[in-house]
């Protein structure tokens, strides 16, 4: 695989909720190679403000059409600028970056929280025709715009919200043991808040199920050059989240 730097054309940039957009771009060379779990590094504005690129998981690809989708929450200056991208605009994109998920198992469970659910969408697609189980957690129903996106790519979706406005009241972690057991899960993939991923990794380890986690850190280069994003591995050495990850075996990075 070769990392690319290219000018991509915006196809659409639609609002999913008042704070979440889905951006589809034409980037055939990246789409042809991208794997679930990898990310793109987007220059959100020409010039020097904001200066750095912004990393986003690849949420979907259509290799035949050469398109790639990211789903992003507007949280600051960069993502606010992205929300004004219009069809036909050209944007500067680096990718595909990082190491993605290893596809394995017969009955995979995908556990996501917050925007960490985005990469799980492409993963679910890639895992087909295996029966894919999805467990997601969020604060309220408003954050749970995901289920329709997963409808055709998974066997069943389990939802937990903190306020019980959708699915079970509680967290994804509360529901995890029963979902693991009932569906005879043999591999777990997780992306979301760190506490959630640590809990998922622990529960999976207790049941002897392999678990892959996707980490996040502030990134400057995105290619392993600046060491902004490194984390300690369990063996005492260091990992670069952008280039050794973002996907790791749980036991590689969690103690």
């Amino acid at each position: 695989m070769r990392k690319l730097l290219m000018q991509a054309t915006v196809l659409d940039n639609m609002r999913l909720t008042p704070t979440v957009n889905t951006l589809r771009i034409l980037a055939p060379e990246i789409a042809a190679q991208a794997l679930p779990g990898q990310f793109v590094h987007i220059k959100v504005a020409a010039g020097i403000q904001p200066l750095l690129r912004r990393p986003f998981s690849i949420a979907d690809i259509h290799a035949e059409q050469g398109t790639l989708t990211v789903i992003y929450r507007i949280v600051g200056e960069g993502t606010a600028l992205m929300s004004s991208f219009s069809p036909g605009d050209t944007i500067d994109v680096m990718g595909p970056l990082g190491q993605g998920f290893r596809l394995m198992g017969e009955r995979p469970l995908l556990v996501g929280g917050g925007m960490g659910i985005a990469p799980l969408l492409l993963l679910a697609k890639a895992l087909c025709p295996r029966p894919v189980y999805v467990l997601m957690g969020g604060r309220t129903q408003e954050e749970m715009f995901w289920p329709p996106l997963f409808q055709n790519v998974c066997e069943s979706i389990h939802i937990a919200t903190d306020d019980g406005s959708l699915g079970r009241c509680g967290t994804a972690l509360d529901m995890l043991p029963e979902v693991l057991e009932q569906n005879k899960i043999d591999v777990v993939y997780t992306c979301g808040p760190r506490v959630m991923m640590e809990g998922v990794a622990k529960a999976a380890a207790e049941m002897g199920i392999p678990c892959q986690v996707s980490l996040e850190e502030h990134m400057a280069c995105g290619v392993g050059a600046c060491l902004s994003c490194t984390c300690a591995a369990s063996d005492g050495t260091r990992r670069k989240i952008c280039s050794d990850g973002p996907v790791f075996w749980a036991e590689e990075v969690f103690l």
Binding site: K3, L4, I48, L51, D92, M94, H218, C221, L227
Partner: protein, 309 residues
């Protein structure tokens, strides 16, 4: 002429032959290999690798970068795999490339700098860049770069232990940059590079905590460019050894400013994160500028800034 060569740009810097006077700044381009999908390393003037220490270093904990207006703060804390790993694992991978490799060194004591220089006095290393300006480590680093006597001690020690050209990288976090430059020149520096990052800080107003795990960090990017140009101009006038100018270079125009200020070569740091092909673009841009101006060689720009009148 071999690939990537351009007669307007080929440069001899402190005895190092370079295809063009554009290098990548230490800590911003890894070991070069990280960028090989994006850029042909053979087209660069030189690659300056990440600050290397005697033992592997894990770097600082917590958040290591913060974006600031037209710039960024970093507090990496010299994470690196150590000099032996560099020699045994990294350097052989760089051997196939026809580009000078300059190794940036950081030590806790003058003796450590000497030992590093000795271990790196080997084929494949074109020059040594002595980093006495890292703002992100408690010992060494900037402590040497803000005190003339300590800086002199380090440079003399390195010179005694290597036959390679010795470039000394200065910190802008001093009151009198010219005094520091003269001190390291007198101590035997073959060239001077500047600027390293400016010490800065950012605070999260939601949590009332510093953004960086290390509380403070080094500012780089376009925001520091005017400070860097001024310091390069002051130093280039005051010393005889050549100067590598850096700090906020994002375009050929920026690089040309540094050359006019007196830099004989330039380095691009933070710009690599924004555009991994930036060094090649800058080389092309300088070449175009020379042609437009009817100049035959980049050396015709060096230090040619006029007085304002």
């Amino acid at each position: 002429m071999s690939k990537g060569e351009n007669s307007q740009l080929c440069t001899e810097f402190a005895g190092i032959r370079m295809k063009n006077p554009i290098m990548t700044a230490s800590g911003t381009f890894g070991f070069g290999l990280e960028y090989k999908d994006f850029i042909d390393l053979n087209e660069l003037g030189a690659v300056v690798v990440k600050g290397t220490t005697l033992k592997p270093r894990p770097g600082n904990t917590g958040c290591r970068i913060a974006e600031t207006p037209a710039g960024m703060l970093n507090s990496i804390g010299l994470e690196n795999p150590g000099v032996d790993h560099f020699k045994d694992v990294i350097l052989p991978q760089l051997a196939p490339y026809d580009v000078p490799i300059i190794v940036n060194l950081a030590g806790n004591t003058a003796d450590e700098y000497g030992e590093l220089a000795r271990r790196l006095d080997i084929p494949g290393v074109a020059a040594i860049e002595v980093n006495i300006s890292c703002p992100n480590v408690k010992q060494g680093g900037i402590a040497f770069g803000t005190d003339c006597a300590s800086a002199t001690g380090v440079v003399e020690m390195v010179k005694r232990n290597t036959g390679k050209p010795v470039i000394v990288k200065l910190s802008p976090n001093v009151t009198d940059i010219v005094m520091m430059a003269r001190a390291v020149e007198d101590a035997g520096a073959d060239a001077i590079s500047l600027i390293n990052t400016l010490l800065g800080m950012a605070i999260d107003i939601r949590s009332w905590r510093p953004v960086l795990g290390n509380t403070v960090g080094g500012l780089s990017g376009p925001a520091v460019k005017p400070v860097a140009v001024r310091m390069v101009w002051q130093v280039a006038k005051a010393v005889k050894v050549p100067v590598i100018g850096m700090g906020g270079i994002q375009s050929a125009a920026d690089a040309i400013e540094f050359l006019l200020a007196g830099a004989s070569a330039v380095a691009v740091g933070t710009g690599n994160f924004v555009d991994p092909r930036i060094s090649v673009r800058i080389a092309e841009g300088i070449s175009d500028y020379l042609t437009e101006r009817g100049l035959t060689h980049v050396s015709e720009l060096i230090g040619r800034v006029n007085d304002y009148c």
